[in-house]
Symmetry: C2
Subunit: 114 residues, 2 copies
Protein backbone atom coordinates (compact mmCIF):
# COMPACT_ATOMS: atom_id res chain seq x y z
CA UNK A 1 0.00 0.00 0.00
CA UNK A 2 2.75 2.43 1.00
CA UNK A 3 4.81 1.31 -1.97
CA UNK A 4 1.87 1.59 -4.30
CA UNK A 5 1.25 5.15 -3.06
CA UNK A 6 4.88 6.06 -3.63
CA UNK A 7 4.70 4.60 -7.14
CA UNK A 8 1.57 6.60 -7.99
CA UNK A 9 3.22 9.75 -6.60
CA UNK A 10 6.19 9.20 -8.92
CA UNK A 11 4.05 8.28 -11.96
CA UNK A 12 1.70 11.26 -11.69
CA UNK A 13 4.57 13.61 -10.88
CA UNK A 14 6.41 12.37 -13.98
CA UNK A 15 3.33 12.81 -16.19
CA UNK A 16 2.56 16.31 -14.89
CA UNK A 17 4.99 17.88 -17.37
CA UNK A 18 4.40 18.27 -21.13
CA UNK A 19 7.86 17.19 -22.37
CA UNK A 20 7.68 13.99 -20.34
CA UNK A 21 4.14 13.23 -21.55
CA UNK A 22 5.31 13.81 -25.14
CA UNK A 23 8.14 11.29 -24.64
CA UNK A 24 5.62 8.71 -23.39
CA UNK A 25 3.33 9.48 -26.34
CA UNK A 26 6.27 8.84 -28.68
CA UNK A 27 7.45 5.64 -26.98
CA UNK A 28 4.05 3.92 -26.95
CA UNK A 29 4.50 3.91 -30.76
CA UNK A 30 7.81 2.04 -30.49
CA UNK A 31 11.31 2.25 -29.03
CA UNK A 32 13.55 5.20 -29.87
CA UNK A 33 17.06 6.44 -29.19
CA UNK A 34 17.67 9.38 -26.86
CA UNK A 35 18.71 11.56 -29.80
CA UNK A 36 15.52 10.72 -31.73
CA UNK A 37 13.46 11.47 -28.63
CA UNK A 38 15.25 14.75 -27.97
CA UNK A 39 15.12 16.08 -31.53
CA UNK A 40 11.60 17.66 -31.42
CA UNK A 41 12.47 19.68 -28.31
CA UNK A 42 14.26 22.99 -28.12
CA UNK A 43 16.15 21.96 -25.02
CA UNK A 44 19.73 21.17 -24.04
CA UNK A 45 20.59 17.47 -23.77
CA UNK A 46 21.31 17.64 -20.00
CA UNK A 47 17.83 19.08 -19.33
CA UNK A 48 16.27 16.47 -21.60
CA UNK A 49 18.20 13.63 -19.91
CA UNK A 50 16.86 14.85 -16.59
CA UNK A 51 13.30 14.40 -17.91
CA UNK A 52 14.18 10.86 -19.06
CA UNK A 53 15.59 10.18 -15.60
CA UNK A 54 12.29 11.20 -13.98
CA UNK A 55 10.37 8.89 -16.35
CA UNK A 56 12.79 6.02 -15.68
CA UNK A 57 12.65 6.52 -11.89
CA UNK A 58 8.84 6.34 -12.10
CA UNK A 59 9.09 3.04 -13.99
CA UNK A 60 7.41 4.51 -17.07
CA UNK A 61 10.38 3.84 -19.36
CA UNK A 62 13.53 1.73 -19.41
CA UNK A 63 16.69 2.35 -21.37
CA UNK A 64 19.59 0.20 -22.54
CA UNK A 65 22.89 1.35 -23.96
CA UNK A 66 24.41 -0.39 -26.98
CA UNK A 67 27.72 1.12 -27.99
CA UNK A 68 27.13 4.86 -28.09
CA UNK A 69 23.37 4.66 -28.49
CA UNK A 70 20.88 4.60 -25.65
CA UNK A 71 17.51 3.10 -26.61
CA UNK A 72 14.38 3.90 -24.60
CA UNK A 73 11.28 1.74 -24.30
CA UNK A 74 7.88 2.24 -22.70
CA UNK A 75 6.87 0.13 -19.69
CA UNK A 76 3.17 -0.51 -20.36
CA UNK A 77 2.54 -2.11 -16.93
CA UNK A 78 3.26 1.22 -15.24
CA UNK A 79 0.84 3.07 -17.51
CA UNK A 80 -1.74 0.37 -16.76
CA UNK A 81 -1.27 0.79 -13.01
CA UNK A 82 -2.02 4.50 -13.28
CA UNK A 83 -4.98 3.91 -15.60
CA UNK A 84 -6.36 1.41 -13.06
CA UNK A 85 -6.43 4.10 -10.40
CA UNK A 86 -8.81 6.12 -12.59
CA UNK A 87 -10.93 3.04 -13.29
CA UNK A 88 -11.21 2.41 -9.53
CA UNK A 89 -12.52 5.94 -9.01
CA UNK A 90 -14.89 5.70 -11.97
CA UNK A 91 -16.63 2.63 -10.51
CA UNK A 92 -17.69 4.78 -7.55
CA UNK A 93 -18.81 7.95 -9.29
CA UNK A 94 -20.63 6.04 -12.03
CA UNK A 95 -22.48 3.98 -9.40
CA UNK A 96 -23.49 7.19 -7.69
CA UNK A 97 -24.72 8.73 -10.95
CA UNK A 98 -26.76 5.60 -11.60
CA UNK A 99 -28.37 5.94 -8.15
CA UNK A 100 -29.32 9.53 -8.98
CA UNK A 101 -30.79 8.39 -12.32
CA UNK A 102 -32.79 5.67 -10.58
CA UNK A 103 -34.02 8.19 -8.02
CA UNK A 104 -35.20 10.54 -10.79
CA UNK A 105 -37.07 7.66 -12.43
CA UNK A 106 -38.60 6.62 -9.10
CA UNK A 107 -39.73 10.22 -8.55
CA UNK A 108 -41.58 10.04 -11.87
CA UNK A 109 -39.15 12.21 -13.79
CA UNK A 110 -39.06 12.17 -17.57
CA UNK A 111 -35.72 10.44 -17.56
CA UNK A 112 -36.80 7.73 -20.03
CA UNK A 113 -37.79 10.26 -22.71
CA UNK A 114 -34.34 11.81 -23.06
CA UNK B 1 -4.02 21.84 -27.43
CA UNK B 2 -2.04 24.27 -25.29
CA UNK B 3 -4.94 24.54 -22.86
CA UNK B 4 -5.41 20.81 -22.76
CA UNK B 5 -1.71 20.38 -21.96
CA UNK B 6 -1.94 22.91 -19.13
CA UNK B 7 -5.00 21.10 -17.77
CA UNK B 8 -3.23 17.73 -17.80
CA UNK B 9 -0.19 19.32 -16.10
CA UNK B 10 -2.46 20.59 -13.31
CA UNK B 11 -4.44 17.33 -13.00
CA UNK B 12 -1.39 15.05 -12.80
CA UNK B 13 0.43 17.46 -10.51
CA UNK B 14 -2.61 17.49 -8.20
CA UNK B 15 -2.84 13.68 -8.19
CA UNK B 16 0.88 13.16 -7.53
CA UNK B 17 0.38 13.56 -3.78
CA UNK B 18 -1.20 10.96 -1.46
CA UNK B 19 -3.40 13.30 0.61
CA UNK B 20 -4.92 14.79 -2.54
CA UNK B 21 -5.52 11.34 -4.06
CA UNK B 22 -7.19 10.25 -0.80
CA UNK B 23 -9.52 13.27 -0.99
CA UNK B 24 -10.50 12.31 -4.55
CA UNK B 25 -11.01 8.69 -3.45
CA UNK B 26 -13.35 9.95 -0.72
CA UNK B 27 -15.31 12.37 -2.92
CA UNK B 28 -16.06 9.86 -5.69
CA UNK B 29 -18.19 8.16 -2.99
CA UNK B 30 -20.22 11.34 -2.41
CA UNK B 31 -19.91 14.98 -1.37
CA UNK B 32 -18.36 15.89 1.98
CA UNK B 33 -17.66 18.93 4.11
CA UNK B 34 -14.11 20.22 4.54
CA UNK B 35 -14.08 19.11 8.17
CA UNK B 36 -15.21 15.57 7.25
CA UNK B 37 -12.53 15.44 4.55
CA UNK B 38 -9.83 16.73 6.86
CA UNK B 39 -10.62 14.45 9.82
CA UNK B 40 -8.58 11.36 8.73
CA UNK B 41 -5.44 13.44 8.28
CA UNK B 42 -2.94 14.45 10.93
CA UNK B 43 -2.47 17.87 9.36
CA UNK B 44 -3.28 21.48 10.22
CA UNK B 45 -6.33 22.95 8.50
CA UNK B 46 -4.31 25.58 6.55
CA UNK B 47 -2.11 22.83 5.02
CA UNK B 48 -5.18 20.74 4.24
CA UNK B 49 -6.98 23.73 2.64
CA UNK B 50 -3.94 24.23 0.43
CA UNK B 51 -4.35 20.66 -0.87
CA UNK B 52 -8.03 21.35 -1.57
CA UNK B 53 -7.01 24.51 -3.42
CA UNK B 54 -4.68 22.50 -5.68
CA UNK B 55 -7.49 20.02 -6.44
CA UNK B 56 -9.94 22.85 -7.12
CA UNK B 57 -7.49 24.72 -9.38
CA UNK B 58 -7.01 21.51 -11.39
CA UNK B 59 -10.79 21.23 -11.82
CA UNK B 60 -10.92 17.93 -9.95
CA UNK B 61 -13.25 19.23 -7.23
CA UNK B 62 -15.61 22.14 -6.66
CA UNK B 63 -16.75 23.57 -3.37
CA UNK B 64 -19.68 25.67 -2.23
CA UNK B 65 -20.15 27.41 1.10
CA UNK B 66 -23.46 27.30 2.93
CA UNK B 67 -23.39 29.24 6.17
CA UNK B 68 -20.25 28.08 7.93
CA UNK B 69 -19.93 24.79 6.08
CA UNK B 70 -17.98 24.31 2.86
CA UNK B 71 -19.12 21.27 0.87
CA UNK B 72 -16.77 19.66 -1.69
CA UNK B 73 -17.80 17.62 -4.72
CA UNK B 74 -15.89 15.61 -7.29
CA UNK B 75 -15.81 16.76 -10.93
CA UNK B 76 -16.00 13.47 -12.83
CA UNK B 77 -15.36 15.09 -16.24
CA UNK B 78 -11.86 16.05 -15.14
CA UNK B 79 -11.09 12.52 -13.97
CA UNK B 80 -12.41 11.25 -17.31
CA UNK B 81 -10.15 13.62 -19.25
CA UNK B 82 -7.09 12.23 -17.47
CA UNK B 83 -8.26 8.64 -17.88
CA UNK B 84 -8.70 9.30 -21.63
CA UNK B 85 -5.05 10.25 -21.91
CA UNK B 86 -4.10 6.75 -20.68
CA UNK B 87 -6.61 5.14 -23.04
CA UNK B 88 -5.06 7.04 -25.95
CA UNK B 89 -1.63 5.67 -25.06
CA UNK B 90 -2.96 2.14 -24.56
CA UNK B 91 -4.36 2.01 -28.10
CA UNK B 92 -0.81 2.41 -29.40
CA UNK B 93 1.08 0.01 -27.16
CA UNK B 94 -1.63 -2.66 -27.40
CA UNK B 95 -1.55 -2.41 -31.20
CA UNK B 96 2.21 -2.83 -31.12
CA UNK B 97 1.95 -5.88 -28.84
CA UNK B 98 -0.58 -7.38 -31.23
CA UNK B 99 1.86 -6.88 -34.12
CA UNK B 100 4.55 -8.70 -32.14
CA UNK B 101 2.14 -11.54 -31.42
CA UNK B 102 1.20 -11.77 -35.09
CA UNK B 103 4.88 -11.80 -36.02
CA UNK B 104 5.54 -14.67 -33.61
CA UNK B 105 2.67 -16.62 -35.15
CA UNK B 106 3.91 -15.87 -38.68
CA UNK B 107 7.38 -17.10 -37.68
CA UNK B 108 5.80 -20.42 -36.67
CA UNK B 109 6.19 -19.83 -32.95
CA UNK B 110 4.24 -21.82 -30.41
CA UNK B 111 2.14 -18.80 -29.59
CA UNK B 112 -1.17 -20.71 -29.99
CA UNK B 113 -0.21 -23.33 -27.43
CA UNK B 114 0.23 -20.97 -24.50
Amino acid sequence: MGNQQTELDAIFHALGEPTRRAVVQRLVRGEASVSELASPFDMGLPAFMKHLGVLEAAGLITSTKTGRTRICRIQPATLSAAESWFEDQRIFWQARYKQLDDLLVALGGKNDET
